[in-house]
Symmetry: C2
Subunit: 252 residues, 2 copies
């Protein structure tokens, strides 16, 4: 099956961390926001928003939270957020105080909306020759992000996104076979994962990450161990930050 | 700025709930899974998976959870899931018992991965003339979904997706102006949201939902109130189900 242009764009996805010193034209940005606007949304509630960070001092502070200096240099820096605040206010103006606005199902619906909106923007950006980098690292300190962006109650940061014209050309990063990730009807586990990913482990060692171009990446299974050893209490305790933003965790 | 083909597809997004009685050819499905595979993934860990539901009895049961009978008729029904189980097993085979695999930052990273993968599949599907419907309703009873799909510890359902050839042609659903959703540097709230969405409220009343084609939809602000009045304890208490799947909520 021949991939059409859209799918060719999607299959060519790579993370771009270094951008040309070139702003994104206004009409291109507007088009990205129009794509964001038309993205599917849970029950049509449109309960997510975007903070466009243009202030350099703010960018620097966010880069500090991310612990990634390239974040400060991204020509566009967007933070996608859960936003039940807006609809809560709308209901309030209609004289309805929506106690359920703070429930975790609303949080997750909005969180999902924010993610799929971000991915729609990524695909649109890449289709116009732009590069993107997702910044899950904004959650290294979600309270700090809430404070910097002055996020009101019933909002919460989900993911950051850097966008710009690519100034690097990374290899396509190897992925594991979908046989290990797509299952029919019920979850399937495997006798030995290391056996199953033997070839993939090898393939990963042929990949050179431009952040460390002098040596190939470690095997996938070694990367897994290294990643699991990392921990950050502020990331792990994210639900306390969620609660601080006014959500009711309803944990028994 | 003229929208390219990809963006035209994205701007034409509508939810499709009724499909032709026509299977998706294998090569088309394979291409969708290849797009899923190449989707960005947090720290490259690929910690999400897909359950492809092909068994009609399973579809019926999931439709029951969703409380949407059309779910049972979707030619393809995919459930995207958080999956830290696979990498946990990989680490274990490497003699590392990853206590941090159950932390909530891993849960959210995988949840985000699952959502952006779903949206990438949606765009790819729509670019090939397929229609899609997101099913947030699988979380009406997430424990039941875990049970039906036999989801092991450290996995969790995120969102469902129905895919097929459209057998309906809905209007484009009106969305609020992005002026209300994109803010520069810090969150912006508005004096009166009802004033701001006056035109949008009107526009929404010109939209006919094919689920109830005899009358236009209610204004957006009225929809917000109606939606906030709905509640479902199993949805609200989703974090208890998350904990039951082995995640450590780390709530103080």
């Amino acid at each position: 099956m021949k991939a059409n242009e859209t799918i060719q764009t999607q299959l060519a996805h790579r993370t771009i961390r270094e951008f040309k010193d070139q702003a994104i034209p206004n009409d291109v940005f507007e088009l990205l926001m129009e794509v964001a606007r038309q993205t599917a949304s849970s029950t049509g509630m449109q309960a997510c928003s975007i903070i466009r960070v243009t202030d350099q001092e703010m960018k620097d502070k966010i880069a500090e939270v991310c612990n990634q200096e390239y974040v400060a240099r991204a020509p566009e820096l967007l933070i996608f957020i859960v936003d039940q605040y807006r609809n809560y206010q709308i209901a309030k103006e209609k004289n309805y105080v929506a106690e359920h606005a703070s429930d975790m199902d609303r949080f997750f619906a909005a969180f999902t909306d924010a993610c799929i909106m971000a991915q729609n923007v990524v695909t649109a950006a890449e289709s116009m020759g732009l590069g993107t980098v997702y910044l899950g690292s904004i959650l290294n300190d979600s309270e700090k992000i809430c404070e910097l962006l002055k996020l009101p109650e019933l909002t919460f940061p989900v993911i950051g996104l850097g966008i710009g014209y690519p100034n690097q050309n990374p290899q396509l990063k190897p992925r594991m076979d979908m046989r290990l990730r797509v299952f029919e009807n019920t979850y399937r586990s495997f006798e030995s994962y290391l056996d199953e990913i033997k070839e993939y482990d090898k393939e990963m060692r042929t990949y050179y990450d431009l952040r460390d171009p002098d040596r190939p990446l470690d095997s996938f299974s070694n990367q897994v161990v290294v990643r699991f050893k990392q921990y950050n209490p502020k990331r792990q305790e994210i639900l306390n930050a969620v609660r601080k933003q006014g959500f009711d965790l309803k944990v028994k």
